[in-house]
């Protein structure tokens, strides 16, 4: 059965894993390599590939050593260029061009961040579909027949404003956050625009440590969608 697990999420580093009966892939590799090794019980070779969303270090920090260790990494050119990686393990992907990682068929698609960034729609040959979107202030697309959704739910507008007024968040960050990260009301609209009839898990990821309220976010999205919501 298709499964999704979050090891690390947030601006300090992101590492998730998606597995089915045959294949295990990492999604984002934004933690130091030893941390990833530990997360994988020192069995990096159990990872059949790593899908990387974008070039910000909290999403690709561990890629150079992962590539050295024989992990096939899949990312847009921008990511490998920024890391200075050229290897047969570094697979350049193109938005809306389907590719395969063993039993997974993966469709990357552009999302809206302040650097080129992609989300992933992942279909297992054994059944089950996962949608992964992070670091995007909205998504142009809608989806159908998805079983697991992992989506960024970074901040609430009112909390951000309150923190700016209180001096906890610098004012210059307002524009940057609102034009690069998903706000909870926009996440709810996004979820409702897609077909949720098959969804059995929604994972809210990449929550801001200052501008979010995890418990409240979980309750709200759960109530709004009727789907079980998980936050690590």
């Amino acid at each position: 059965m298709l499964e999704f697990k979050t090891y690390y999420t947030g601006s300090t580093g992101n590492l998730h894993v998606c597995t089915d009966e045959h294949t295990r892939i990492a999604i984002d590799f934004g933690v130091p390599f030893p941390q990833a090794q530990k997360a994988f019980d020192y069995k990096i070779s159990s990872i059949d590939g790593a899908l990387i969303t974008h070039a910000h270090r909290d999403h690709c920090k561990g890629v150079p050593r992962a590539v050295q260790s024989g992990v096939d990494c899949y990312a847009i050119k921008d990511v490998f260029d920024s890391l200075g990686i050229s290897s047969h393990r570094a697979h350049i992907i193109t938005p809306l061009d389907l590719f395969h990682v063993q039993s997974f068929r993966v469709l990357p698609f552009l999302v809206q961040h302040d650097v080129p960034n992609v989300g992933f729609l992942i279909q297992s040959d054994y059944g089950g579909k996962l949608l992964y979107i992070t670091d995007s202030y909205y998504c142009k697309y809608r989806f159908t027949g998805v079983d697991i959704i992992a989506v960024e739910c970074n901040y609430r507008k009112e909390l951000l404003e309150k923190n700016i007024q209180a001096g906890l968040v610098p004012e210059v960050l307002r524009k940057r956050i609102t034009r690069s990260h998903f706000e909870i009301e926009n996440v709810k609209k996004f979820l409702h625009a897609s077909d949720l009839s098959r969804v059995r898990e929604i994972h809210l990821i990449h929550l801001s440590s200052t501008n979010s309220d995890p418990e409240q976010f979980k309750k709200e999205v759960q109530k709004s969608t009727g789907c079980p919501v998980y936050i690590k």
């Binding site: 530990k38 260790s69 040959d125 159908t144 210059v172």
Partner: protein, 239 residues
């Protein structure tokens, strides 16, 4: 170019004779391979460029080389905006005051108001500002590779927009649009307009009956396992 508010009188679009002539010229330009790609086979874009050139008092062919479409909006190179400002006749040509080092390095564009003799200073632009505003770290940003030029260009753009907005005829520079220095559309409107529009899905394929191993040879796998084992042992504290 005269520094005055542009009215319908000097537009190509509000006189049927001039408009028809502009269409004929645009048809020729649109068939040329010497105009940038976004004007080829696009008579509408060519008419708009002709109108801009006419209003700015410059050669249409030159205007087209300096015009871009960024995020669906027309933009005019900073270089051309500075040239138009410099020949405008209301101010002396722009000069730049540069000071500071590292993140504190900043640039102020200045020009003399020829009528009053007063020297006007534009808003300062610094490397710190470029970083705080998110321009510096944008993908493909020239701030990292050409910081001196970008400081001057941005300082000039700010000055012109503030003291001689008639020069730009309402158009921004490509850098401003690409870096989001100018809020083209409020974020809420952009999301309302563009979010959740199109369904996409994975094209149907027959599942592979025999999914392959992950491309590693058995030697590679053994080598990696040995390496991981060694690293695991090295990171385990001894007792």
């Amino acid at each position: 170019m005269k520094n005055e508010i542009v009215t319908q009188d000097n537009s190509l679009l509000f006189d049927s004779t001039r408009f028809e002539h502009a269409q004929r010229v645009s048809k020729m330009l649109a068939s040329s391979t010497m105009v940038p790609q976004h004007f080829r086979d696009n008579i509408g874009n060519c008419v708009i460029a002709l109108n801009y050139a006419h209003r700015a008092g410059i050669d249409p062919f030159m205007a087209m080389q300096k015009m871009y479409i960024i995020h669906g909006k027309p933009a005019v190179e900073t270089q051309l905006q500075i040239a138009l400002f410099n020949k405008g006749g209301r101010f002396s040509p722009l000069k730049y005051k540069i000071e500071g080092e590292g993140d504190s390095r900043r640039c102020v564009a200045t020009a003399k108001d020829l009528a009053s003799g007063e020297t006007i200073e534009g808003p300062p632009v610094s490397i710190k500002m470029a970083k705080d505003e998110g321009w510096y770290n944008k993908s493909g940003s020239k701030w990292k590779t050409l910081p001196e030029l970008m400081l001057r260009y941005r300082a000039a753009a700010f000055f012109i927009r503030l003291y001689a907005p008639e020069t730009t005829l309402g158009l921004h520079t490509p850098e401003e649009l690409m870096e989001g220095a100018i809020d083209i559309t409020p974020v809420e409107q952009e999301i309302e307009r563009d979010a959740n529009q199109e369904y996409i899905d994975i094209p149907f394929e027959e599942p592979d009956p025999d999914p392959k191993e992950n491309g590693l040879t058995s030697e590679e796998k053994e080598e990696i396992l040995a390496l991981e084992k060694a690293e695991a042992e090295a990171s385990t504290p001894g007792f």
